[in-house]
């Protein structure tokens, strides 16, 4: 019998549960936080307490915990006891995962849903289908923090080359759907730079070139995308590449649109220009140029200061105090 059909029948009314002593919720006298139950939840919770008290681990416990989880997915004791029962019964875990697929999609933002899967996949040792499930659930909620960190955990835990190899295409697809998905950019960095060196990627210079090409292309399409600029900085910082190497690329983004862009000419693949529809100057580009000038020092500090002033007073006024801090810091460098 499907769970749905039983929803209106209380456990108290079912003869096959008559041997269980339900335990009512402890109620303090004049509690600060009194509880008012709906009958259905109260009934399930009472029987859950009865089962736990008796230490029972049987198929009907799975039925009961599923019911509680469907009404209250954050009830961590129910999850915990369900897992213990699954282990005790040696239940088929792929069946469990399939059941959980439906619940996970409904309750995506609940920690417990993902932790339960983590425990199960640690037992099944079959991560491939999990990655497929994660990809599917990310379609519904593309930036779900639990989902992405679960994916990162699976990749690191199983550390399977085949799984890692499939990640870059996966991330590229996510970014193609939404260039501004910070979770996807973060995952790209994780996969490319923080997961060791895999076969085919031994030429680190080539990897850096490829990544720079990718992020520059992305910035040219959407110059005001904070995630892409953070990714660019991440590549440079991680690999010790000077920001000044990117000066030719970044400069056109730090000023208003010019006639140069619209002129026909040879397309410079190394330095893609900002898309015509984009809003310029891009604040992140101005910041980047200022960082280049600051690093150069000497006379360039004046140029950096001018850019920070333009941010403080015109382009990024909400962070005025931060830009004034940068100006002060640079001045101090000059005087010391």
């Amino acid at each position: 019998m499907a769970i749905e059909e039983e929803q209106s029948i209380l456990f108290a009314e079912r003869p096959e549960w008559a041997d269980v002593t339900p335990l009512a919720q402890y109620e303090n006298i004049n509690p600060v936080a009194p509880i008012f139950y709906t009958n259905e939840y109260k009934d399930a919770a009472d029987y859950f307490r009865g089962i736990v008290n008796a230490g029972e681990m049987s198929p009907r416990v799975l039925e009961l915990t599923e019911k509680i989880i469907r009404m209250n997915p954050a009830h961590y004791s129910a999850w915990q006891y369900r897992y213990k029962t699954l282990m005790a019964l040696k239940s088929p875990l792929d069946v469990e995962l399939h059941l959980m697929d439906e619940i996970a999609v409904k309750y995506l933002k609940t920690y417990q849903v993902w932790h339960h899967r983590r425990l199960i996949v640690t037992q099944t040792r079959n991560p491939g289908p999990e990655l497929a499930f994660i990809a599917k659930s990310l379609q519904a909620d593309t930036k779900n923090y639990h989902t992405w960190s679960y994916r990162q955990w699976i990749l690191a835990y199983f550390n399977d080359d085949e799984l890692w190899d499939a990640e870059l295409p996966f991330v590229e697809e996510m970014l193609e759907n939404d260039l501004r998905n910070n979770s996807a950019w973060h995952h790209r960095f994780f996969v490319v730079f923080q997961a060791g060196v895999r076969k085919g990627d031994e030429d680190r210079d080539e990897v850096i070139r490829r990544e720079l090409g990718f992020v520059k292309q992305s910035i040219s399409v959407a110059p005001n995308n904070a995630s892409a600029w953070n990714y660019l900085r991440g590549i440079l910082d991680h690999n010790g590449t000077p920001y000044s190497d990117l000066q030719t690329f970044v400069n056109p983004y730090s000023v208003p649109h010019t006639l140069e862009e619209t002129a026909e000419g040879v397309v410079d693949l190394e330095n893609p220009l900002p898309s015509k529809e984009s809003h310029l100057p891009a604040v992140a580009a101005i910041e980047f140029m200022a960082d280049i000038y600051e690093k150069e020092g000497g006379d360039s500090l004046m140029k950096a200061t001018e850019l920070w002033k333009s941010l403080a007073n015109e382009h990024d006024t909400i962070r005025k105090k931060y830009w004034e801090y940068r100006i002060r810091e640079a001045c101090q460098k000059v005087t010391t």
């Binding site: 335990l23 919720q25 402890y26 109620e27 303090n28 004049n30 509690p31 600060v32 936080a33 009194p34 509880i35 008012f36 139950y37 709906t38 939840y41 109260k42 307490r49 009404m71 209250n72 954050a74 009830h75 961590y76 004791s77 999850w79 915990q80 897992y83 920690y111 417990q112 932790h115 425990l119 930036k143 923090y145 992405w148 960190s149 990162q152 955990w153 690191a156 501004r180 998905n181 910070n182 979770s183 973060h186 995952h187 960095f189 994780f190 730079f193 923080q194 995308n225 904070a226 995630s227 953070n230 900085r233 991440g234 910082d237 909400i318 962070r319 005025k320 105090k321 931060y322 801090y325």
Partner: protein, 326 residues
């Protein structure tokens, strides 16, 4: 019409009314949050200067009724299994009410320490969910209990280091995306452990002040929506890094005030949404750090009244905005 003032009497009565919720099922299905909710409500009342609006004895009795004698720690509700989340809230409530003597400190410290994993991170309970939130909670609780010396600091710090990302931020687990809430728990824990050397203060300070959106509100990560609770996570992190001035205080204040419910009281995640005690607490906490007039000082590291933390000798080198007189 946008509110220009913090409606303290309304929020006080909203918090008082939480025990008499009309929406029965929703109230019940948040039983696993009950201890946390009481801590949020109590702390908000303290910051608004109305600590006595909820009965002290009743609250202490409720906390003690959540003691899980098998585990030696506190659950979220009577008969709930002990969890690190509810254990910290219980300790914070009891300390706020000067009733820590009711706690078996030895057993609680033992429970907390038993949750540390080989990697250095803490689990929430024996079920094993891990998260840097739980590491912060462990550090915070042990510190409040005076048992920080029993912690393996190097091991704990090593995991925070693994959670530090290329943008200077921190995630929930190793490899996870930087997120304002996780930044707060890592930075605050490192502050308690006197290990802020693990933080790239300039890079992270910039990442944090980039959370402010044109409407004045703060978000949790790039390209996401603003939410009142991030006001606290971000502001407290910045105050610990001594960079709270990097946020436009006036705009953020206006944003938080506009998320109030001027009829029922309480604060929501953003203007027009349903209020709840979580966002009420973190909205008020953020306003306190912003120097909003008439509020009590809050310690951003422990998220408790500052004078209590100071009396316990636990104050760290954070800096909030000066309290305005108007």
């Amino acid at each position: 019409m946008a509110e220009s003032q913090l409606l303290i009497p309304l929020h006080v009565s909203y918090i008082k009314s939480l025990g008499e919720s009309k929406d029965e099922l929703a109230y019940h299905t948040t039983a696993h949050l009950r201890m946390n909710a009481i801590y949020w409500g109590l702390t908000a009342l303290c910051i608004m200067g109305h600590k006595d609006a909820l009965d002290r004895e009743e609250m202490i009795d409720f906390v003690m009724s959540c003691w899980d004698d098998e585990a030696g720690a506190f659950g979220a509700h009577p008969d709930h299994d002990a969890h690190i989340l509810s254990t910290l809230s219980a300790i914070q409530i009891l300390i706020t009410h000067d009733a820590l003597d009711r706690v078996d400190v030895d057993r609680v410290a033992k429970f907390i320490l038993s949750l540390q994993q080989p990697s250095g991170v803490f689990a929430g309970d024996p079920w094993g969910e891990i998260d840097t939130r739980f590491s912060y909670i462990a550090v915070n609780a042990l510190s409040l209990l005076g048992r920080l010396s029993e912690l393996d600091v190097e091991k704990t710090v090593a995991y925070f280091r693994q959670c530090r990302n290329f943008d200077g931020g921190f995630g929930a687990t190793a490899g996870a995306e930087s997120h304002s809430t996780q930044v707060f728990v890592c930075v605050a824990a490192l502050a308690i452990l006197d290990r802020l050397d693990e933080v790239d203060s300039d890079a992270l300070g910039w990442w944090l002040c980039e959370r402010q959106l044109p409407n004045g509100g703060l978000n949790g990560r790039p390209e996401k929506l603003e939410d009142v609770c991030y006001s606290f996570w971000v502001l407290s992190s910045l105050s610990i890094l001594n960079k709270i001035t990097w946020i436009d205080a006036e705009k953020l204040t206006k944003f938080i005030l506009s998320a109030q419910d001027p009829e029922q009281g309480g604060i929501a995640d953003r203007p027009g949404d349903m209020v709840d005690v979580f966002h009420t607490q973190f909205g008020v906490a953020a306003l306190s750090l912003l120097g909003y007039p008439g509020l009590v000082d809050l310690d951003p590291v422990y998220c408790m009244p500052a004078d209590i933390i100071e009396r316990m000798g636990l104050r760290k080198g954070w800096k909030a905005l000066d309290r305005r007189s108007v």
